[in-house]
Amino acid sequence: MAEHRYLGKNQPRLAARDIVTGRARYAADEKIAGMLWAKVLRSPYAYAKIIDIDTSKAEALPGVKAIITYKNAPHWKAGMIIPHKHLLSDTVYFIGDAVALIAAETEAIADEARDLIKVEYEELDPILSIEDSMKEDAPQLYPEIPGNVADYEPFANQGMALTQEKVGDIEAGFAEADVIHEVTTVLENAQNPLPPESPGIIAEWNGEDYVTVRGSMSSNGLCRMMNSGCMNLPISKMRVIASYVGGSYGSKHFSSNGLIIHYAAALSKATGKPVGLFYDREEHLTCQTTRMNSIGKYKIGMKKDGTITAIQGEWTGEAGAFNGEHYMIIAVGLISQGVLAQSKNVDISTKIVLTNRQTSGAFRGYGYLENAIHISNALYQTLEKIDLDPVEYFRRNRLKVGDEFYHAYMCSGMVKAAGPDALEMINKGAEKFRWDERWKGFGVPTYEDENVVRAVGVGFCGQSDVGEQLANENVNLTFDGGVTVSCVATEFGPGTRDVMRKIAAEALNVDLSMVRVTDSDSMAAPYEWGSTGSRSTYAMGTAVLKACEDAKRQLFERVAQIFHCPPEALETKDGMVSIIGHPEATVPWIAAIGFNGSITGVGNFGGEYNVLVQQVQFIEMELDKKTGKVTVLEQLCSTDCGQIVNPDALKGQLDGYFPGIDMAIREGMIWDKDGRIVNPNMIDYKTRTWNEIPKHENIILESAADGNYVGTKPPYGAFGAGEPSLAPGIPALTLAIYNATGKWFTTYPITPKEILDALREKEGR
């Protein structure tokens, strides 16, 4: 394994001091002179027509600067593929949909003005479930989306079968099977990503139709690409400056549902002033995005050795009140088939439907978490029929290097797995957890007495988008030996910008303190998506590394002229260049760069979709037989990140596993019969507290430290491992709860009452 100066070693993370001293400025901490405060009047009905709206009293209130309703709103539309969601319209599509936008001198005045607007509605019958949206007599929500089912033909016409997967001969496959089993799983938690910081945006529209947007945005270029068009602007006329982001987990990458941006921008355009819009927690929980609900029906044909002869699926996702990036969620999610249930015969059809509920969107585990639950539930129940230990199944059926798997997203075809082989992470995890000893078979607890029953479970997941999309970064070497990395990576938790800093410091062999990374400002760095989809370390890191190599090449070419040697004979350390093996022949960078000069290296990366980030989780839980309460006793994550960049930061990413297990047993939005969320606050939306944190361990392998990959090479072998931490927890707990209760649950969250009922049934009571 190569010896590195920084990689794999702990140094204080970039921004650490800002964060622990309170200097880190998040959206609501920003101050812009002359800023107005925005508020949004929201619909109390899930589906209704606005008959009359009277803003006269609100407009008369001193300090009110603008009120926008559908009558005077700019003709902006959001939604994909065909834009269909007007900025404001005379129809409201969910409880919390925007009716009017208000800008005022103070927050209190904006609040008061909101209360003075009178609206008369005509209520319409809403669609409040996936099933109802597909009924023949269901209301048609948008003329652009007939039947309430999103149309992805335009992608298919371009050869991108983003939302379906067909390989081999499904009927022949089932004919070969020893067992065939079908399971339908309903995921209607609408789990909220719930970052501690609610979204906040400050928009500044200037007279030239150019908008600057500051605040809590985690993916700079993606946000511009998806939102500039909604405001009838080219990407180049939307500048994004990300503040520190107080958690996103996908919810603040504002891909196609950045309504908060459009609202603030429209008010800024109307007033000519910077406008700040900061959602409160109730708006955050009811009007921003949740995890995509979905129903998955999967049929698996299996041989007695665990080989899957055929897998057939119907997977239907709920976009909610308008359709955005859901095709990408589904496309990425289809990877779960290749990772979990390889087969030569596959037929999975998918659908995205609209309802009158809160819009869903990105959340850590982007589609592959959801589909891993659907597939695992079918898989485990099938494995029970042939009595094969799921860990042994994963060992046998994992994707090996060179195996082909279907990749809907970007490729729409078969991709050869470049690795890593998951065998070692499975084996090391199983050994550390003592799986072979603790697994007693399907439906068998590990321990039971009159009060409690304990059982173990396992879950597995993966995706291959760590190298996704084009990446562009620049690196500037200054004559004083300093390095500036121009990169739109955001400070949002995983330490992505620090990864860029360390890669540059490693490649240019300079002291870490001499490397600076630009703010996430689209005017300070080349265009690219930014931090999203687990791509930062691999895609952005590769471009940073290439930019460093380009800069080093230019530097060495100049120094070669001084020493009359070939550039290959040179090395650099701490702002000096020497002939290798001849320390007496050393010059500082300034000798080559010149006083007041600099060298810019350019790095590009074209995107790769063949490196897998995978994680296996083992869980032991205990059920209280009197209350049905699930207590997770022990939890182990095992993964492979290729090469560790920041040990402590990576550990933190894996330690963030618990929203996964809590999606299985605790978290979710609760709707009343009218489509109103009744738990939009942090007392009633239940999350895990510090005194409920189980015993937890991580195993992090570094299989690519020497970079031995087929046709691809992540920077120093590092491709990250943070995102999948939630996904395996739900199948793992589902299995453990089955082993304890004898009941396969297929709806979530699994409640204590349902568990008690299952225990009673098992005991014949």
Binding site: P196, D280, P494, D648, N681, M682, I693
Partner: protein, 168 residues
Amino acid sequence: MRTEQKEYIILNVNGIDRKFTVGEDRTDVQPSETLAETLRNRLDLTAAKVSCDKGACGCCTVIVDGEATLSCSTLTVECDGKHVLTLEGLEDPVTGELDPIQQAFIDHTAFQCGYCTPGVIMTVKALLMKNPHPTENELKEALAGNYCRCGSHHQVIETVMDMTREEA
């Protein structure tokens, strides 16, 4: 020039007395104003965050007269004559030296997005002021009201237990 008699309060914030008139004008602290609003909007002390605004997440935690206090659920007028310590007050303003808790959080990367960190550090500070060597359960109980979504719980617990462990 006109004069007006107004009621006022004095809060000692991070060692400095701050005087505020109380009333309904924009320059006055209103009787309904929370300590979080006063700290953030009037004193530019933005480390404490208003996150859930219902006292359920701990992001706004500061220390008032030695007690960990939710500043989003505390009225500023109630703090008249009290000593308020915020995260900004832990750093020595002259030398820049950090509180040992802050330094330990840096040394062990006991944070991710950092949004809950000000509240977490102040909660730990308040605990250690009373109980310099807490058990792990005492620490977890103290932090039970601090919401963290990234999953820094394990690292915070390890960091604080490590720094407070009594030498054998």
